[in-house]
Symmetry: C2
Subunit: 138 residues, 2 copies
């Protein structure tokens, strides 16, 4: 028994593929068509191997209901080298600011953006200590 | 840059930990408290290494908004040995049927259940061919 992936629903499949590939470097692992005409594209992070599946439903499908961003999906978590730079890079790709980047307990920089469908993405980078402090307990 | 996990929001942390641990064998990887009082528990699938983070917000938190199951999180995908048996086992753990298990193109058994918060979970098992057919193109 395995947890295989997280499926998110998207309203424009091409837009979302581009956003997650160009924005985060996810790569396509497979795609297909559902019996009722929906389409899915599975994307994987080549380093962490975490997977998301983009799900798109055609007009008229019983699943093409009104798109509501709910509270069930809290956010997708991304760890990056530089949260501020990543957020700035994502904006022209279709992201919008949800919570501006802040410093969390002196340990990391964290911000939240919305993807093109409004899904919250956490963008976190760890603050590097200066070399002199490595190994210290300070 | 890595996709680290999917964060889902839950309304009863203990209930959800039990559901995902007992229901799917996910194991705890870490937990903590957010600066504003929220709590998170990260769970990992020991075989696929896919991770979800359970997020809980206390009453009064700016994030403890009305809980809406939206369309952004389509579903979490699980691959199991026997979809019918798994669905039956999940019901007394707090799941409810969303779509009863059906046979998909003769290749797999697929059903959807709702977790205790109403999040859709896909439960899929591959149909094993009889040994005589292994390697055939039929």
């Amino acid at each position: 028994m395995t947890l295989s992936y997280t499926g998110i629903r998207v309203r424009d499949l091409a837009r979302s593929i581009r956003f997650y590939q160009d924005g985060f470097g996810l790569t396509e692992r497979g795609r297909g068509t559902m019996t009722h005409g929906g389409r899915f594209v599975e994307l994987e992070d080549p380093s962490s191997h975490q997977r998301i599946e983009l799900n798109w439903y055609p007009p008229g499908s019983p699943y093409a209901t009104r798109y509501t961003v709910g509270e069930g999906l809290d956010h997708l978590g991304f760890v990056v080298d530089d949260a501020d730079a990543t957020v700035a890079r994502l904006l022209p790709l279709g992201a919008s600011i949800a919570l501006p980047v802040w410093t969390e307990r002196g340990r990391s920089r964290i911000g939240f953006v919305r993807d093109p469908d409004g899904i919250w993405l956490e963008i976190e980078s760890r603050i590097r200590r200066s070399p002199a402090r490595v190994g210290s307990r300070g």
